[in-house]
Symmetry: none
Subunit: 215 residues, 4 copies
DNA sequence: AATGAATGAGGGTTCATTCAT
DNA sequence: TATGAATGAACCCTCATTCAT
């Protein structure tokens, strides 16, 4: 019987690896059934362990959600493109492509949903605060792009909301192992978003075979 | 004390009106806390009635979710633009704008999330089947737009997924009573989506002040 | 099957009566097995109802303990002898006799034990505060008795501790329906305590057949 | 870090000393939180060892309680005054003083409470049987005192119950390191009890400054 | 139609106990 | 001897659902 999804290695790293496997399994379950719809038993079963064993790694269910959220945000933040030699639109495009790929890739922690009553205020605040860091980075790229005349004028936050919608939705429909590769999807969505925001006259924006910009 | 959100009228329509109020209240709760995170008590409280009274109007909680889903899909389908004199891109734009406005308007039934274990297979199949009608209509518009050379070639379903992401996400961030009107948001998202899909050379696409296409 | 120990009467008082029956049953269980050793199921079973039904009457187990404690202290306070025409020693005697009889009588709520971790600090403070009212009344009687030369000089609190020991211990050994009546026990303990505290030369103190002062 | 409360000595006695330290620590915990309210982890922590290590010294939690009870009773029995040259009242007084001092002294094993469901019948019987030895000794002293005309006539068992109440209660209120010494408390309680039982005309009975018989 | 009362089912959490190391 | 890891059993508590009124 496969335990811990075989994420078991040498002594010291063991616990860390197990935690990661736990977070990923939990993220998957939360994504599928929501926080309240997920029983700890489901997660334990997915890992081939018993329910009480989970309590060696997390304090309680809420804390597990919190940890998963934090891991997800950290993953999101790690996809931000910091290459200052690029214009805002291109930085946005690369970030989105990279972010999407991390979301649907193997090691994804991403949870999109945040049921309102699922976290106590303090932890909720922290999650929102971290999430804001990621969103602010996107807003900043949009503002740069607008200043450069590459992105349509208007509310930068509105632009980011649109972008995040197209992006986050991917977890709802993407099925790994299908005809569309992770990379194609990431590049495709990034292209879609950037075309949606680009000012008129900006040249063709890179996409993927799923939505061909140079037909 | 306001009961049934004052949706009470003359004899025969009474039940229908109450059902509608119930579905809207349920939709709001499900949207906020998910299916499993919503207690029937929450819904009853929101309507100013008691928990057992709900059972005069719905068979059980699952059935309530089913009814809300069906109402939501019907609402979505009702926003489809059937004007065959228009090209695919414009029909898509009008449909999206209209759909978004219905989602964030007062009488919204929309639930975006479908927790996988929340409906029994038979009802799930029906909901998915109805939802497919709406999505197929969108796919058909994209195909028409591609045939007309107005929409980029590629996977029409991929295009629709992107569109739906930007669209459905609106329930996560829109706050009624803020600076952005329902109409501005609807037109803005529709413009964003259509620019994201439009083939090069297609003229400026209508948006709103939130993202100005003709800056 | 006997439900609610037949403590069921007319409409409005119903809930109050049920609460009382619940508190008495809970007190009995806590006395026997301690707080942590008592399962809510035990209490429910003793009342002929099911476990979740308890939650119509108390918020949770801790709150139940708190309510029982408060009822017990109120009962204790109600036995205090306020007859100011009496000397301190006699007031003490009457109070103790009355208190003991209330503890082992039918409607007793008394819990003697307070496991330290069983109540959250706020509720613990309140219980202790109320209990102090009762103990202070006893201390005051002792001080009066000492001033009157009827009680030995020394630490009044020490005297009260001794008295309370003899008194509270009664719940550990008294078996209703045995050879010793409630009244005999109450008077007997009261006499024992008062003789233990009385100054030399104080005349014979009333007791009971269980320990005859006038042999 | 202090382990085993430094009760560690040479090879052979090691196990015995550790067991004693364990019993005392367990007694303390049981006294504070009751049997069911005490987690083995609490005891282990108090000894600076880990939970499974306890199982090298006791078979299981119930057995630990049993051992502690037996140690406590043995301690109680060891305080019995066997000096046959003394009258019953004085023997009782010395025994009680000595017993109280052993209860609140450093090496105390005393558990006063016996939650009914905490021991299986066989072990319970043995504990009760041992306890009876101690109580019988007290009863015998009372009978002797009554025969000698020094103790009030009446039920000897009732007299002993009163005595044990005042005595056992001491664990509930005594705080080491306070203003009252162990000896003062022991002598004070013994005096209180014996005055409570003494026949009229018996001369002054020794106490302590806490309750002065010769004021 | 409406609801207070009741409960079976289910989920989160703790903990005594075992085992491999 | 000592312990981190694991788990079955038991308990508190919630909630959808039913029923009598």
């Amino acid at each position: 019987m496969a335990r811990w999804n075989n994420a078991v290695a040498s002594a010291a790293e063991l616990k860390k690896l197990r935690e990661d496997a736990l977070y990923r399994e939990a993220a998957k379950a939360f994504r599928k059934n929501g926080y309240h719809g997920t029983a700890l038993e489901d997660i334990a079963e997915g890992l081939g362990i018993s329910k009480p064993t989970l309590y060696h790694y997390v304090k309680n269910k809420r804390d597990l959600l919190y940890q998963v959220h934090m891991a997800a945000v950290a993953q999101a933040i790690s996809t931000i493109c910091h290459d200052t030699s690029l214009n805002g639109l291109e930085r946005l495009r690369r970030t989105i492509s990279s972010y999407v790929q991390s979301m649907i890739g193997d090691g994804s922690y991403s949870i999109v949903i945040l049921e309102e009553k699922s976290l106590p205020p303090i932890q909720l605040t922290r999650v929102v605060h971290e999430r804001d860091k990621f969103e602010s980075a996107l807003v900043e790229m949009v503002l740069q792009g607008q200043a450069e005349g590459l992105i349509l004028p208007g509310e930068a936050r509105f632009a980011v909301f649109n972008a995040l919608g197209a992006v986050n939705w991917v977890t709802k429909w993407y099925r790994p192992g299908g005809q569309w590769t992770v990379e194609e999807v990431g590049e495709g969505i990034a292209g879609f978003v950037c075309r949606g925001l680009a000012a008129p006259g900006v040249g063709p924006i890179q996409g993927s075979r799923l939505l061909t910009p140079t037909a």
